[in-house]
């Protein structure tokens, strides 16, 4: 793994974009890494789209606000339009299949399409689509272990929500499997 990985997670409010980023940050911290999580909290968020910048690093993180990313995880068209060109050459762009009408066109980055919402539907838990994306991301970029994410969920979720952990774990694993199977659409 490179010593610093810079991620943008973006989508509509309610898709779990901010929590997707925060769970990666939490898990990174629990594996002893330096992390930062910078949410959009301004007027753009009030317009319905949300994003967060997550940095996971071995050393002290300089700027928590950056404009070029190693990975973009996008869950809607406006976010794809906004961040496709913000991925560093050779970087990774993951997008959720059903939310995108015009797919990305860049040839110099790794583009991965994940049918996260469909998979979450199959698990009968729409709200874990974000975790399918996280699982898929971690298969491409093993920044943190799935087990650490599950342990982290145990730590940060209140007791009465612990019953949701198994479904989240399934979603993470499903995400990993999809990437292993076929999802790569171009290189």
């Amino acid at each position: 793994m490179q010593k610093e990985h810079e991620i943008i997670c973006a989508g509509f409010g309610g898709q779990g974009v901010l929590s997707m980023g925060s769970i990666i940050a939490y898990a990174g911290m629990n594996e002893g890494k330096e992390v930062s999580w910078m949410p959009s909290y301004g007027p753009e968020m009030r317009g319905g789209t949300a994003n967060c910048i997550v940095i996971v690093a071995d050393n002290r993180i300089s700027s928590p606000i950056i404009t070029k990313f190693d990975t973009a995880i996008v869950l809607n068209q406006p976010s794809l339009d906004k961040f496709e060109n913000a991925v560093k050459p050779g970087g990774l762009l993951m997008y959720e299949q059903s939310t995108i009408i015009n797919p990305p066109t860049r040839k110099d980055i790794d583009i991965v399409c994940i049918s996260a919402i469909e998979e979450a539907d199959k698990l009968k838990a729409k709200q874990v689509a974000n975790m399918v994306m996280v699982g898929a991301f971690l298969e491409k970029q093993p920044l943190v272990k799935i087990e650490t994410i599950v342990d982290t969920l145990k730590k940060v979720l209140p007791e009465h929500r612990h019953k949701l952990i198994p479904i989240n774990e399934q979603a993470l694993i499903r995400g990993k499997e999809i990437v292993k199977e076929t999802a790569q659409v171009s290189v």
Partner: protein, 364 residues
């Protein structure tokens, strides 16, 4: 998220605002008075939720003017008190802060700055630098001003702020911004109970027979007396200069020095990395205390470097103090964004390169 009193020394992932609020409880504040405003409402929300379960008093006042005057009253009674707000709210507090400074009372105020002027925007800014370090209200006074650059420092500077405020009986301010308030980072919180209470023999807590009346006032109607009080204040500000703090990054061989505080210093750290990759000897001086300001160190550095550049999220405020510090020995340039916009590390590097290009043209 689960709320728990964490074990000593355990790392937590927290928003800057939450870390500041939790540190306030751990600093054993007697009371917090505040009024909500974005981007710092989490401070009041956190304290409203936690203080009733633990210790202290939290009151949502009817306005910022009320908050700061509650602070004035409680500080006068010897209580360890704090408030927080964001730019427009802090403006409303300026009269009270001037009174508190004149009456020589300790308290802590956090300003989570947003873009202005006016009601402005909720995005991060450093547009309140002048207001914070030059006094802000009327009369000859200063706040002690600390500028955190990480969530860790958002917590630590609550303790440092109270320590300084109580040592000098002077209001202290944490000058931060919306981004540092909203972002999450790893933080190891200061230990609860580790900030000792200080003696407050001057407090108005009821007069025993053994001493004269204690009087808390900022009204000294006779000019002779008012001047005396001013001399006392100025003497105190001289002493406060010894509390200056700053951080240096890659300064040793630097030919170009960036000067930046708070969030913009984080951005400049990245610029330093990018510049070094290109072989440019760029370093960073980050003032940690904005009042007192590291005038002396900047003046020394002026002997070593080719030029300095102040990087700020405003129209150019601290740059004036940097210029004062270097006394014309080297050029001081400025790079900034305003109104809630944030300069990128690449923007700053570009500015450095354009200065270098211009210098080259002049030499040719």
């Amino acid at each position: 998220m689960k709320e728990e009193k964490n074990k000593k020394g355990e790392a937590r992932l927290m928003k800057g605002n939450e870390a500041l609020a939790e540190a306030a409880i751990r600093a054993d504040i007697d009371a917090y008075f505040g009024y909500p405003i974005t981007p710092q409402s989490e401070i009041l929300e956190y304290l409203e939720r936690e203080i009733p379960k633990r210790h202290g008093l939290v009151i949502q006042a009817e306005s910022e003017v009320a908050s700061i005057n509650m602070i004035y009253g409680a500080a006068g009674a010897g209580a360890r008190v704090m408030t927080s707000s964001s730019s427009p709210g802090i403006s409303l507090m300026q009269e009270g802060l001037s009174y508190i400074a004149s009456a020589q009372l300790p308290c802590l105020v956090a300003n989570v700055v947003r873009g202005g002027p006016g009601l402005g925007t909720i995005q991060p800014s450093q547009g309140d630098y002048f207001q914070a370090v030059k006094g802000g209200g009327h009369g000859d006074y200063h706040l002690i001003v600390l500028a955190p650059a990480s969530v860790q420092e958002m917590a630590d500077f609550v303790f440092d702020g109270f320590r300084l405020a109580e040592k000098y009986r002077n209001p202290a301010m944490i000058l931060t911004d919306g981004a540092l308030g909203q972002m999450m980072e790893k933080v190891i919180l200061p230990e609860e109970g580790s900030l000792k209470k200080v003696e407050t023999p001057w407090a108005t807590t009821g007069k025993p027979a053994s001493r004269d009346h204690n009087i808390i006032t900022s009204l000294f109607i006779q000019p002779e007396k008012m001047e005396e009080v001013n001399h006392e204040l100025q003497e105190k500000y001289k002493k406060i200069q010894s509390e200056v703090r700053f951080e240096e990054i890659q300064i040793k061989d630097a030919e170009i020095v960036l000067v930046a505080f708070g969030l913009s210093s984080r951005i400049c750290q990245k610029t330093v990395d990018l510049a070094r990759e290109k072989g440019l000897k760029v370093g960073l001086l980050r003032p940690i205390t904005l009042y007192p300001f590291p005038f002396k160190r900047l003046n020394e550095l002026a002997e070593q470097v080719n030029f300095m550049m102040s990087v700020e999220m405003n129209a150019g405020q601290m740059v004036q103090d940097v210029k004062l510090a270097v006394e014309g020995k080297v050029p001081v340039y400025f790079k900034g964004r305003m109104g809630g916009m944030i300069p990128t590390p690449e923007d700053v590097l570009e500015e450095i390169e354009s200065v270098l290009d211009n210098e080259k043209v002049l030499q040719d």
